[in-house]
């Protein structure tokens, strides 16, 4: 089986999200990466070094500059003439592009797979992760998005794939990029962080988030996350949100502070290795999944914890 993998990149660098997808793809067959964008030669060179990658297709064209699905999907659909499967990470980019590709190929997409059970059989979470479905695809070509926390990352070094330029399919003329507001942070990226400190509604304000959550995160070298309630209340930007509708994370340590543990939040973090919960309500549902729980006032506990670590 020949598998085409969507390489996600940012500012000329290959993003970590691509690496678990390479691992998933290698279970199916021969792995080729597609790097599409404008001025993305350096990202293609990085992609060529990833262990397990046999070829890198480079589509360097102004039409692909901002990953617009309307321009990128026809390119992928055309390249799929020579492939049996297309895999993309279940990031916002992958989720935006892959279903458009699937419809162009007239196949059903399999979203957010957790495992590869066979060349046409996969598992995926449904109902906010409250159930896991095993599905078998009858389509000749598979289009799949991969939950990046469910697969090990392929090594960034060790491969020596050839980079082969491919012809573009041009600008579909349906959409254009206006601008972006990307939050820049010195801290680790949420989806790939080993440790995450997350805050909820109980913080009460944006100031409290800065005062209590961030120093603890910095002490642990952790990324900062949040519940939907904290995001909706405006304490932190929406890209901090962990949960069914935000990011799905599985760090080694997840510290949930002032988060009650609604099923939508648990969907995003319950595969973390060690979950620590700090909450004043001893009946909060978060304690049902927490390995270690401490009942009490976060405004007293968190500074003490930060100081003693």
């Amino acid at each position: 089986m020949k598998v085409l993998v969507w390489a996600e990149h940012e500012e000329g660098k290959l993003r970590d999200a691509t690496l678990p997808v390479v691992t998933a793809a290698a279970r199916l067959g021969e792995v080729h990466l597609i790097v599409a964008g404008s001025g993305v030669g350096p990202a293609a060179d990085e992609a060529a070094k990833v262990a397990g990658v046999e070829k890198v297709l480079l589509a360097d064209d102004g039409a692909y500059a901002n990953g617009l699905a309307e321009n990128v999907a026809p390119l992928v659909a055309k390249l799929m003439e020579g492939y049996d499967a297309f895999l993309a990470p279940a990031t916002t980019t992958g989720k935006n592009i892959a279903p458009r590709v699937a419809a162009l190929l007239d196949v059903m997409q399999i979203s957010d797979i957790l495992s590869v059970e066979g060349e046409d059989t996969f598992t995926r979470p449904i109902y906010a992760g409250n159930a896991v479905a095993t599905v078998k695809s009858a389509d000749a070509k598979k289009v799949i998005t991969v939950r990046t926390t469910a697969f090990e990352k392929a090594a960034r070094e060790g491969g020596s794939a050839a980079v082969e330029p491919v012809a573009g399919t041009g600008d579909a003329g349906l959409s254009s990029f206006v601008g972006a507001e990307i939050a820049h942070s010195e801290r680790p990226e949420l989806t790939s962080a080993k440790i995450i400190v997350s805050g909820g509604r109980a913080l009460g304000s944006s100031e409290a988030f800065h005062q209590y959550i961030e120093p603890l995160a910095d002490k642990l070298g952790a990324a900062v996350g949040a519940s939907r309630a904290a995001v909706d209340a405006g304490y932190v930007p929406n890209d901090y949100q962990v949960g069914q509708t935000g990011k799905v994370v599985a760090p080694e340590l997840y510290v949930a502070i002032g988060i009650s543990g609604a099923i939508q939040h648990l969907a995003g973090m319950k595969d973390s290795k060690l979950i620590v919960a700090i909450n004043k309500d001893e009946d909060a549902p978060i304690f049902q999944v927490a390995d270690l729980g401490l009942v009490g006032d976060l405004f007293k506990i968190v500074p003490e914890l930060t100081e003693k670590l």
Binding site: N96, I97, M108, I126, S175, V178, I182, T191, Q244, F287
Partner: protein, 250 residues
């Protein structure tokens, strides 16, 4: 312009789903069902566009069992003008739904088609993108802001992994809603009464000539692995000691 909104009847978001003992699916018998939360946001956005004078008519569409009528009546009570139910007792996949919605769009010729970004039952996050592909229209997925600019284009601010990005789409276009787009309104009692007399057309997939044969077979539905029960600690010191024991921190 006319707006189309797609709504789905799903398990209520507050209900904890239970997997059937025989592993064939999730038990939906006697479970509270509601409109998918992202679709409420889609209906609300359509109504706001009408209130701004951008939209002239809102048509809500649902595909599903006869009971999906209730979901459509909710959309009508919120402010949609009329509804179309494509009745099917089969569980239809996003590809089949997108094909049916594309047929409705060809018939109704809307300026904008608004959907939720994902349904909270199958968590697919596919239908809007597939619909846009089938129609050859632009797509503004995960929208947190929608600004229609005349009859030519719409600017959509999208929630992406690193923050926000804005794209401009040629109309007609497909928009899928994210949580922060708006706060959906509650239907008032008089509006619920009024909604009962609004038109609701009934169709079947066969009326549109769409083949809805599933491409995926669900072999098994299982409970996710359960976490071992944890322990409660009494102090910060004990917490730190226990975390250190696991070796996660030095």
């Amino acid at each position: 312009m006319k707006l189309l909104v797609a709504v789905k009847r799903v398990i209520d978001f507050n209900v904890k789903p239970r997997v059937k003992a025989d592993g064939t699916g999730v038990d939906l018998a006697n479970v509270k069902m509601s409109m998918n939360p992202f679709d409420e946001i889609a209906v609300e956005e359509a109504i706001r566009l009408k209130e701004k004078g951008v939209a002239t008519e809102i048509v809500a569409v649902s595909i599903g069992p006869a009971k999906a009528q209730e979901t459509l009546r909710t959309a009508l009570a919120m402010g949609a003008d009329r509804a179309i139910l494509i009745q099917s007792d089969d569980e239809l996949e996003p590809l089949a739904v997108a094909k049916l919605l594309a047929k409705v769009a060809e018939e109704e010729q809307p300026g904008l088609f608004v959907l939720g970004k994902q349904a909270i039952d199958d968590d697919s996050n596919q239908t809007g993108q597939m619909l846009a592909a089938l129609l050859g229209w632009g797509q503004g997925t995960f929208a947190s802001k929608v600004e229609v600019e005349g009859s030519e284009s719409v600017a959509v601010t999208r929630e992406v992994d690193g923050g926000l990005e804005t794209v401009k789409l040629k109309l007609p276009a497909v928009v899928t809603t994210d949580l922060r787009l708006n706060e959906p309104r509650y239907a008032s009692l008089p509006n619920i009464m009024k909604a009962k007399s609004k038109p609701l057309a009934q169709k079947t997939p066969a009326d549109y000539g769409v083949d809805t044969t599933p491409r995926l077979t669900t072999l098994k539905v299982a409970e996710p692995p359960r976490r071992q029960a944890g322990v409660k600690v009494a102090s910060v010191e004990e917490l730190i000691d226990k975390i250190r024991e696991t070796g996660v921190i030095g």
